[in-house]
Amino acid sequence: MQTIPIDSTKTDFFKISFLYRGLQLRKWRNLIVWVLLIPMTVFTLTPILYMFTASLMPAKDIMKMPFHWIPRSFHYENFVIAITGNDGSYIFLRNIYNSLIVALVCAATTVVLSALTGYGLAKFRFRGRHLIFMVIMATMMIPFEAIMIPLYMVTTKLGIQNSYTGLILPFLVNAFGVFMMRQYLITFPVEFLDAARVDGMSEPEIFSKIVFPNCKPAIATLAILAFRAQWDNLLWPLLISQSEKMKTIPLYIVKFTSEMNTDEGAMMAVAAIASIPMFLLFFSLSNYFISGTSVYSSRKG
């Protein structure tokens, strides 16, 4: 058998030059990556670090011209002022409690109602279900900012301003939740449901014992999204919570920062206290946060 003669030196040369080129390219690319990524990371993380550092500093140090990133002493008084408030009324604790109640209740109702509706739309055949789905999806196009004034009028008529009912009622469930649960449950195996039906389970039982416990990832994502939306909500509480007692954390921050005698350290302590629950959630469940974000990308026409 005759072998084809190969010019070995030539191929080696090609190989080497190819490798060399690849290495050079990678070097350049790495350089660009680090030159852009590192400053961006510094930009995103610095203000957060600033908040935590400043919350441990006396006000006069925060506004010193070269800023000291490491606090010289643990100035815990900031947190004391943050909690007692400028007038010593401890109203912040009450406001944290309000925020927790509203956010937890909204998260719970959103999850249950979305799952129920999503299940109804995904696994039952009845007339008009496509229409109902479209109608629910259409509400995504109504921005809350456009309906807040009529909603406010309704709450004044019902007399539920300054109450948990008023804070919670407009956010019991949202179209995105219904959409997400429906998409999640469409692939749920029908055999399980039929098997349960044959065993004589009633439909509500099937939902609560089989369907609901089996969509944990979707539920976790949705619960985080709903909790966070209420924890951050400024506009609606601003409209309907006029009494100090019924204010939520964002309102307290607005009030606290605009008071003339507020000290900067205490302001950052308030901000830190408000963010700690979210950071704890974020670091323990970062996958759900990130999937909650990327779930949006499946939202196509």
Binding site: T44, M51, T117, G120, F126, P143, L239, T257, E264
Partner: protein
């Protein structure tokens, strides 16, 4: 005979099931009609009336006078200007840089989880908290001046972050950009990782470089995500409220950053002009509806199948 009976029985089982399906859907449907459809219809209706919260007089029908008033009102046009400037100034940099950083993050092998989390971290903070942090950073003695002076080599200058007409607009954009960049980076990363690797391998065999790969493979296939991110960020920007509100409450001038939502709030709640506020709500709704429609239209036509 027997089979017919069976069919009837089968039908009734199906009917019974369908009834359960309806029962499961009804609570949400009632909720959406009461808290979404009713208010928007009500807002539309109220926009034709002169209505004040505290007055005892019944609202008077004034036709399209509210709309006419707004079109002639310089305050309203200023709000439109503020919103448009803010939206364009925020969403274009957001779109471009979130795409850029998503590509960069995906191209590195080590630490891409870290960078994702680091860029996303500001999105965890609430908008009021982030505005409060930046309020201190933008203080005349704060970090923003110190850093800008180092970068621009202007020692001891005060850039009036929260006082100057232009600077206060830039400041709000910067806060928004900072808060949402990680959010959109992650959406882009999800989009990028759905592009099959085999396409890049094929391109490498054909001898393309990474620049060509980006323009000829990544970008065309990423178009749905690009459309999604641009619409989402645009809609987000159109309804911005928290940052502007906190800044003005703490002494920043209101006019440059008096966005539509803030104008609605002030007109409706502070000045009690419900009719006029409803008219603005309807205008905002129509603007947002237009952009949503645009997204549907552009994303439907080019769904990609691999």
């Amino acid at each position: 005979m027997k089979s017919q009976q069976k069919r009837i029985k089968h039908q009734s089982v199906e009917k019974k099931q369908a009834r359960w399906g309806i029962a499961f859907v009804i609570p949400s449907l009632v909720f959406f009609s009461l808290f979404n459809f009713y208010p928007i219809i009500n807002a539309f209706y109220t926009s034709f009336f002169k209505k004040k919260v505290l007055s005892l007089k019944p609202p008077t029908f004034i036709g399209i006078d509210n709309y006419v008033y707004l079109i002639q009102s310089s305050n309203f046009w200023n709000s439109i200007r503020a919103t448009v400037v803010f939206t364009l100034g925020t969403f274009i940099p957001l779109l471009v840089s979130s795409l850029l950083f998503a590509v960069l993050i995906i191209s590195i092998k080590k630490g891409n989880k870290f960078f994702q989390i680091a860029l996303y971290a500001p999105a965890v903070l609430s908008s009021v908290v982030s505005a409060a942090i930046w309020l201190l950073i933008f203080d005349p003695r704060g970090l923003a001046n110190q850093w800008a002076n180092v970068l621009l080599n202007t020692w001891g200058a005060d850039h009036n972050w929260l006082a100057n007409w232009t600077m206060v607009q830039i400041s709000t954009m910067l806060v928004y950009f900072w808060k949402y960049i990680g959010y959109f980076v992650i959406i882009f990363i999800a989009g990028l990782s759905s592009i099959p690797k085999s396409l890049y391998e094929a391109a490498q065999i054909d001898g393309t470089n990474s620049w060509q790969e980006f323009w000829q493979i990544t970008l065309p296939l990423l178009k749905p995500t690009v459309v999604l991110v641009s619409t989402m960020s645009m809609l987000q920007c159109l309804k911005t409220f928290g940052t502007q509100y906190l800044f003005t409450q703490s002494g920043a001038p209101q006019d440059p950053i008096n966005v539509i939502t803030m104008n609605i709030y002030n007109t409706g709640i502070r000045d009690h002009r419900i009719g006029r506020a409803s008219t603005m709500s309807i205008i905002l709704f129509i603007i947002m509806l237009f952009f949503t429609w645009l997204q549907f239209k552009t994303s439907k036509s080019d769904d990609v199948e691999y």
